[in-house]
Symmetry: C2
């Protein structure tokens, strides 16, 4: 059979795709037990309806039928879409961007993949502060790089001394994700300034410009009126990658973008490398139709208050069930500690694979969560609460039972 | 600046993206001289309107607004889309496929990229018989493989002895593309049987199963009622990759598929590896909306007769202007020989870079064509005649002038 041995090996490894596996098993369980019997918190698949403005844009664009509207455009995307994203990121980052700083991509995953292709030489390292989105490891390895994990700080803020210690001549980039998946942490200005300081000092010492990549799909989903700190004013060699998957509830449509900091040394060459990567990696261009939808509706008003309701509800449920967790400042994940075992003493609450074991145990109670070993945090698990309110309201007994029988 | 040196080097190489560069320069020239003054034959961007059935499906699906219709689905795509593609490929290949043999992808480029990721170990080789689509080289190199070019046969049929000579223990796959971009050749049954025989003999000798990849986006666009030979009945370890870019004129929407031969040893593992690749390469899934459009309208009747009209017209123009070319049996490309120079004798008609020089010369006459060095055929150039009939009718004088002043 033709499958490459190293691919077969990665596929069969325990952590290859626990989240996706859980999501797909969820589908099977729902067919077996009925959708209301299964509490599926596995995947960050937004449950909020696509906003009416976006639906209106879809209908309008479907009706336009302009000649060539489904054809190829430049690999970087439509000029109009790039210009609109420049407005968006300019507003968020407080600096002026042109469309030429933007590349439209097949979602934030593609954006990240293209940026990493542009900057990685084989053997280079990318730093990620735990907890982090597990796919970063694949996106880095695809281009011959290696993800170097910086251990989590106790409060899930940036571990600045850890980052400082991990930087080397091989470091090509640092990825940050705020609001953070899975911890819900929104990084503050002081810690980001400290990060910028560390990277600048590293540049002075080694001559290497480390790219700071801000992965921001959750920027709009924050609680208690927080704002997400802009990174462009703090550090020149930086780039934002994002999408409309989470804020406009269109993750299946694969539309996102790369926006380079105009202050970056030789930004045009960096953007050209990202466009080149978009082409040669086989993305070619972001989907034409949804580029137009995003350009038309990115700044529509969206009511995220259901996420606040759900967040408060799931926190109450988990508090009541006796679990410990981090209070989310943004995004829609509750990051919880695997409880100490009530059967065999506390031994079960630590050690390798404990979160995988606990999530398997939860699954026996028809509760699907993501174990956090893949996020770089053994002993934790993630609840994606972008689900119907009823799922949250009804899951408490199962979480309790799972804890009691653990 | 953060761009990796090897990426900067590839980008600045002459052959990095001649076709795309030509396409994007065409946009600039059209702004400068007016769209009617520029004869843009650079890119395979279909000029036929999207079929009415497809437009109707787009409008209908835009109106459906099913809950979660823009959300994530399994990485392999919607079950319904996979089932429809299984019907399509089953009909084309004359064998029974299930949806489980299909992976929906972001276009044929993504399909090819995922298949290559699934099968390539670093250092492996992929064979392509010249002329071939230049992006194959990037799609192979992305995963640490190398494209090994088999020299063209004189009539652009498969060079069976050349393939036989190029096979080695490192060969992971052979890519064929019929109807061929750029030669327009449709490979016959006898030559494909011979290819299957060579690959089977190689397996017996070395134990290595070479994957035969049929890249078939032009399958429906053939002349004189030709049909494209099925490969599944001829060779078990084979896969079809395709899209709706060319036959339904929606290249910008990025929807395509992988369909594995059910007779392949361990086909489920191969499909699983392709799904895994689709995820970890950052594609995640094919765009949700256009998966539904493709599933609903893939077998609509399309009138390709305008391509016949254009083919006959461009052949008449080029014959009249004194150029030599291959008569296209399918697709929408006219593959032409760089003429002998009329100024400095015949010396100019051969040698490295001659087709790049001639395409630069054509550009001075506001005619944009793709030089064929990147396709593995020095001394040739490609006319993509998927353009308005008027462009073909009015380009003759410029082609003549270009030849006279060469």
């Amino acid at each position: 059979m033709p499958v490459a041995p190293h691919i077969a090996a990665v596929m069969s490894s325990k952590m290859s795709s626990v989240i996706r596996k859980m999501f797909e098993e969820g589908g099977v369980l729902k067919k077996k037990y009925g959708p209301d019997a299964v509490f599926d918190f596995s995947l960050g698949n937004p449950d909020l309806e696509t906003p009416p403005e976006v639906e209106a844009a879809i209908s309008r664009i479907a009706g336009e039928k302009t000649r060539g509207c489904h054809g190829y455009m430049p690999n970087a995307g439509y000029d109009e879409a790039r210009a609109q994203m420049a407005r968006k990121v300019g507003r968020e980052q407080g600096v002026t961007l042109e469309g030429s700083h933007v590349v439209m991509t097949c979602g934030a995953a593609a954006a990240l993949t293209c940026v990493l292709k542009a900057v990685l030489s084989p053997g280079d390292e990318v730093l990620a502060n735990a907890p982090f989105f597990p796919e970063y490891a694949h996106y880095t390895a695809n281009h011959g790089g290696a993800l170097r994990v910086v251990p989590p700080a106790l409060d899930f803020s940036l571990n600045i001394p850890g980052i400082q210690a991990a930087l080397s001549a091989k470091t090509a980039a640092v990825i940050i994700n705020s609001p953070n998946n899975p911890s819900g942490r929104v990084y503050g200005k002081a810690e980001l300034e400290a990060l910028a300081g560390v990277l600048t000092a590293h540049r002075k010492k080694t001559g290497r410009w480390v790219l700071l990549i801000a992965d921001e799909p959750y920027r709009d989903i924050v609680y208690e009126n927080r704002t997400v700190q802009a990174i462009f004013p703090l550090y020149d060699c930086s780039v934002v990658v994002s999408s409309f998957a989470k804020n406009l509830s269109i993750p299946g449509e694969r539309v996102g973008y790369i926006a380079a900091n105009p202050a970056m040394g030789d930004a045009p060459q960096f953007v050209a490398a990202c466009i080149f990567a978009n082409r040669i990696l086989g993305f070619v261009n972001a989907p034409a139709f949804f580029q137009r939808v995003a350009a038309a509706s990115w700044d529509c008003a969206v009511d995220y208050s259901p996420y606040t309701t759900r967040r408060n509800a799931i926190m109450a449920v988990m508090r009541d069930a006796g679990y410990q967790f981090a209070v989310p400042e943004g995004a829609f994940y509750l990051f919880c500690r695997v409880p100490a075992s009530t059967r065999d003493g506390a031994a079960k609450s630590a050690g390798e694979g404990i979160d995988l074991a606990f999530c398997d145990h939860l699954k026996e109670h028809l509760v699907l969560c993501a174990p956090a070993s893949g996020f770089g945090c053994q002993g934790w698990f993630r609840i994606a609460y972008c689900v119907p309110q009823s799922t949250i309201e009804n899951c408490g007994a199962s979480f309790k039972k799972a804890k009691e029988t653990w």
